[in-house]
């Protein structure tokens, strides 16, 4: 049984890292923010595993929800897409 719990931990960490990579690489900032919130959420589950329920609650409420909300408001007032390279046809499907 312990192996299985370890599996969950590994999967969670993997998901978290993947979400972080996506959050950094996605050109659509809204998607990036969702990725960031996903990182926070998975991290808050990991906090539960690490016996820190207080931190997990705070991370979920403040780290994930509030900061994502603030990010989304900022995106609404600025621009949604990252324009890193020169705009080429089809740039919106690349990430």
């Amino acid at each position: 049984m312990t192996n299985c719990i370890q599996c969950i931990e590994y999967v969670m960490v993997l998901v978290m890292i993947l979400a972080a990579v996506f959050a950094v690489e996605w050109k659509d900032l809204l998607a990036a923010v969702v990725g960031m919130a996903a990182v926070s959420l998975v991290a808050s589950i990991l906090f539960f595993f690490l016996q820190a329920p207080d931190v997990a609650m705070t991370e979920a409420a403040i780290g994930a929800a509030m900061s994502a909300a603030v990010f989304i408001f900022a995106i609404k007032r600025t621009q949604r897409y990252e324009t890193e390279e020169e705009e080429r046809p089809g740039w919106w499907i690349r990430w």
């Binding site: 370890q6 931990e9 590994y10 960490v13 978290m16 890292i17 972080a20 990579v21 959050a23 950094v24 900032l29 990036a32 923010v33 990725g35 960031m36 990182v39 926070s40 991290a43 990991l46 906090f47 690490l50 016996q51 820190a52 329920p53 207080d54 931190v55 705070t58 991370e59 403040i62 780290g63 509030m66 900061s67 603030v70 990010f71 408001f73 900022a74 995106i75 007032r77 600025t78 621009q79 990252e82 324009t83 890193e84």
Partner: protein, 115 residues
Amino acid sequence: MSISVYYFGAISLILIGLYAVLVKKNLLKILVGLSIMETGVNLLLISIGYIAGRSAPILSEGVGPNQAVDPIPQALVLTAIVIGVATTALALTVAINLYETYKTLNIEELRRLRG
């Protein structure tokens, strides 16, 4: 050298965030990177405080002082999370102000506009 999966996750988050801060050109992306970095640091602190086989530091029935994990890192992380969201909110505000002045969030372009 082998380290725990939690340490690995925490270090990865810090490095991914740092990568975004160093390489990305979009200000909001940089701030996303900073935010991810902070999450990584928090995870690192909590995993340092973890003690295998012990339960959460809430000493109600059945949990004695020798059966709980270290409460200090958890208190520190509570503080760090709040500080992180405060910084993020302020940074986004500054980004909004920048956008209203220069109509761009790309740092290269900002540099060019300022001359």
